[in-house]
């Protein structure tokens, strides 16, 4: 009983991973291209931007919050990075893109942690506001300059190291750093505590407001990084880039098993959620499924994956 029980618990804890594996097996059976090396790199490349956004989103969600503004941050920071880059070089561009994300994150955090506005409404407001800024700054047109963005920057979006695209390597690096922060540092434990019970964390000496603030700053930074990465892939700063990323990222985090009320989750599981979302559209495209049917399939898979994951709660 005990051994079987533990085994069952372990299996059940890995349901998101099993769902991902099942999806990959099904895709391989349905399309012989799915496992081709081109396609695997494709999937990883497509997942990279979402993965970086979802890293920050995981912090916010585990900390008991919610961030709808990441998609707009991606748009704005990409445009800022492109604009600065055209004038002051790649490095300055990248730094200012990321700084833009951090600034928006800080503003979100202040409104939420200091003015006590609900995260939903605060980040909905900044989602609209920041998109407006991006459009205003660019007058709605992509930022490319006269001869395009610097070649070195575009190279980053397309080049590979040992066959692995640079954006994927960047995403892995960022994941590793933040996984360490979340799971191995005192700050990470405080994030879990704040999300799990604000009151208990407060009475244990956790500076809950500061933690809340920092969590949004982290989310802003990762969204800023993602914006810069996307600009490199799109070879331009696009003011409308990143739309819908907010919902996709939250979905990835929740599919990975983090509780939306906070206090629970693992960063590596979020990555599984990201891959589920990415493999889903990729394999539907490979199979040539009609776009209306694609929506239906995506809706079903999201709900089914989440429902399967609920078995975990049952067994534990």
């Amino acid at each position: 009983m005990s051994f079987l029980g533990r085994w069952r618990t372990n299996v059940v804890n890995q349901i998101p991973a099993l769902v991902l594996v099942a999806m990959c097996v099904a895709s391989t059976l349905m399309s012989d291209r799915f496992l081709s090396s081109t396609n695997i790199t494709n999937v990883l490349l497509q997942a990279a931007v979402l993965a970086v956004i979802s890293v920050g989103m995981t912090f916010v969600v585990i900390g008991g919050g919610f961030d709808l503004s990441v998609g707009s941050i991606v748009g704005l920071s990409g445009c800022v990075a492109a604009e600065v880059m055209l004038r002051a070089g790649i490095f300055a561009g990248v730094v200012s893109g990321i700084a833009t994300g951090a600034a928006v994150g800080l503003a979100n955090g202040l409104v939420i942690a200091r003015a006590n506005v609900s995260p939903f409404i605060a980040t909905l407001g900044s989602m609209v506001f920041v998109r407006g800024l991006a459009l205003l700054m660019t007058k709605g047109a992509p930022v490319v300059g006269d001869d395009g963005l610097p070649a070195g920057f575009i190279w980053f979006g397309t080049a590979r190291l040992f066959g692995i695209p640079w954006p994927v390597l960047a995403a892995i690096f960022i994941f590793a750093i933040f996984a360490w922060v979340l799971h191995k540092t005192a700050f990470g434990t405080r994030v879990f505590a704040t999300g799990g019970s604000r009151e208990a964390a407060f009475l244990s000496g956790v500076p809950v407001r500061r933690v809340t603030l920092l969590v949004y700053v982290i989310c802003g930074i990762t969204a800023g990084i993602a914006g810069v990465m996307l600009a490199a892939r799109l070879q331009s700063g696009q003011p409308t880039a990143g739309e819908f990323y907010e919902l996709t990222a939250i979905a990835a985090v929740v599919l990975g098993g983090a509780a939306l009320h906070g206090g629970e989750g693992y960063l590596y599981k979020t990555m599984i959620g990201v891959l589920i979302m990415t493999v889903l559209t990729n394999s539907l495209n490979l199979m040539g499924v009609d776009s209306y049917w694609q929506r239906i399939a995506i809706g079903v898979v999201i709900v089914a994956a989440a429902a399967a994951d609920q078995l975990r709660a049952k067994v534990n």
Partner: protein, 288 residues
């Protein structure tokens, strides 16, 4: 018997009637020619379009037809296709890529200018006009508006008193026009970025009882808009003939794959449709 070619298609949207019509043209022509088509979806999200084109490359289709949401943003995807030796032909919208094999074009600025000239003429060269342009950031609508502005500036007595970027839906046309009519009761014409917006706007105008005082222009030439032009509730639409466009795209691609590369851009003719010539474009009457 030669192996049938497979053409991958990435259109800018799958809910915009213009692209829905284009898609039907592509499907019909491909069927006639015995070619396979696979569509990927983008919905005006650039990153999604890049991903979709790359999925087509991974699928190793023979050629790809793309209607790029943005001319620059698709660069990486065009390059990936180029590297895999797959020709990419842009349709309706243009891409700034060395790997663009051909362009089945539309001169958006020119169309915008022609609409402006038509409006200027129909309101007698003076008065207030409003613009309900397409979604922010989309190149097509930026170009249309730019062409429109250039021409409208040549009539100094015409003033653009209202400008707004909106989603291409009838609801948006309705709401915007309601507010325009309150804010600017003297408005003479409303430029709408597509027919759906125009149909919504014309409803608001009718509801306000200003049917004869405000002209509305649309774009695309979908059947309901043609009927509205006939009924006089919409003043002008531009028949872009998306179905023929889609067909021409397939033709160009099939010829290209056979080795017949087009010289220069392949153009589709657009026609301004107003009360004078609408009869020849009306859809056949419904059979009861």
């Amino acid at each position: 018997q030669p192996k049938p070619v497979t053409i991958g298609v990435s259109l800018a949207s799958d809910v915009n009637p213009f692209y829905i019509a284009m898609k039907s043209g592509i499907e019909a022509r491909a069927k006639e020619l015995g070619a396979n088509v696979v569509f990927v979806t983008a919905n005006e999200v650039v990153a999604q379009q890049v991903d979709g084109i790359q999925d087509l490359v991974a699928r190793k289709v023979d050629g790809i037809l793309v209607s790029p949401i943005d001319a620059v943003a698709v660069g990486a995807a065009y390059d990936a296709a180029g590297k895999a030796g797959i020709p990419v032909i842009s349709i309706a919208r243009h891409a700034n890529s060395a790997n663009e094999s051909a362009y089945v074009s539309m001169d958006e600025k020119k169309i915008g200018g022609e609409i402006a000239a038509w409006i200027a003429q129909s309101i007698g060269g003076k008065g207030e006009i409003a613009m309900v342009a397409g979604p922010s950031g989309a190149a097509t609508f930026r170009n249309l508006a730019e062409g429109f502005d250039t021409v409208i500036k040549t009539s100094p007595d015409i003033k653009v008193v209202y400008r707004k970027d909106v989603a291409l839906t009838r609801e948006m046309g309705l709401k915007q026009a309601e507010d325009i009519l309150v804010a600017h009761p003297d408005v003479k014409a409303i430029y709408c970025a597509n027919d759906e917006i125009a149909l919504g706007a014309s409803q608001a105008i009718a509801a306000a009882g200003k049917g004869s005082q405000v002209v509305v222009t649309g774009l695309n030439g979908i059947p309901p808009a043609m009927r509205a032009v006939k009924a006089g509730t919409v003043g002008l639409t531009v028949n872009l003939n998306p179905v023929a466009w889609g067909r021409l795209g397939v033709d160009t691609m099939v010829e290209y794959l056979k080795g017949n590369k087009p010289t220069g851009d392949v153009a589709v003719k657009h026609v301004l449709v107003d009360a004078k010539n609408v009869d020849q474009f009306l859809p056949p009457p419904a059979v009861k």
